[in-house]
Subunit: 202 residues, 2 copies
């Protein structure tokens, strides 16, 4: 029987360095699949359709919900975000690992639907550093900035819903730690129910 | 607050290559502590007192039990085996990881006393290979051999009581996997209850 791939949920507040970390993780693990979310948020300057997000109008997003094409969806900073079902399901069934970058509400939904998923929370090296990083972003108005800081704090308080926590102080170290989590999870007894048969013990 | 060290229980049947694997793990992780069991089993030719085991008479062993100096003890192939308490407790409290090589009954006891312990079961690459390895040992009589094979089978059926399973086909790969398990476990949210405070979030 084909062993199922891991569904890896990665969350972390703005300013945790999560996006840069995941980009580098993708580079060093080319066999790792990454889910692309659908969103009604307008694209930022450097974002590419189908790579960063599937950018949708509210109507298009509603249509995806209606057709059952999203595993979960949620509202975050006044925009809708959702996880398309097909890529995730195809990956897991074919034994490939797939990473989902979602916020904390999304994680709650995923954990309910896929209790075997592995969740990792990324923290900044310090809270001060998180504030500095969010302030440095040109795209934020002062109001959005305060909202993002409040959201970041609230999100970090959801840490205990996650399986693992990584402090993102050194990106190479953080990647090594994430890769170790994936290797360890693959060796969980609960994910290897046929192993005695596989080694020839009946 | 000092973070507690990991208590890592490693079990595996005779012929799984567990002892060789742990010896190599010790070489590559000099900071890792290893518990030394007390036993009433007579020493084998190459075994050293205080390094492989603390070899005890039945009376001495009974005295250790009476004084509360053993965390757990059990009978295995007509001999008594026990885990001295002091080294284990000292390591964990001072934040050092300690490995306990014990058989499956011992593991049950440890898991009851230390539910936060991490348990790893070592399997041989194939069952045939396990039989070959046990047969090759000069120290076994034919009766002992059959007993060891039966015990090995029974032990492997206890696999599901463990957290992780490693198939010991390639010793370097197996060591890498064990080290990943240790790193992953250290990043469990449940082992990092002060982390938000540590990064400066109140």
């Amino acid at each position: 029987m084909q062993k199922r791939g891991l569904l890896v949920v990665v969350s972390g507040p703005s300013g945790s360095g999560k996006s840069t970390l995941l980009k580098e993780l993708k580079n060093v693990n080319p066999e790792l699949k990454f889910s692309v979310s659908a969103t009604t948020r307008p694209p930022r300057a450097n974002e590419i359709e189908g790579q960063n997000y599937f950018f949708k109008t509210v109507d298009e997003f509603a249509e995806m919900i209606k057709k059952g094409e999203l595993i979960e969806w949620t509202s975050y900073c006044d925009n809708l975000y959702g996880t398309p079902k097909s890529l995730v399901e195809d990956c897991i069934k074919s034994g490939k690992d797939i990473v989902l970058e979602i916020e904390v509400q999304g994680h709650e939904n995923i954990k309910r639907i896929y209790p075997e998923s592995v969740s990792i929370f990324i923290l900044p090296p310090t809270y001060e550093e998180l504030v500095r990083r969010i302030e440095k972003r040109g795209s934020e108005t002062s109001e959005t900035l305060q909202k993002r800081l409040d959201t970041a704090k609230k999100e970090m308080l959801c840490l205990e819903q996650y399986d693992y926590v990584i402090v993102n102080a050194d990106i190479q170290k953080a990647i090594k730690e994430i890769n170790c989590i994936l290797i360890a999870e693959k060796h969980k007894v609960s994910r290897n129910e046929n192993i005695l048969k596989d080694i020839g013990l009946n």
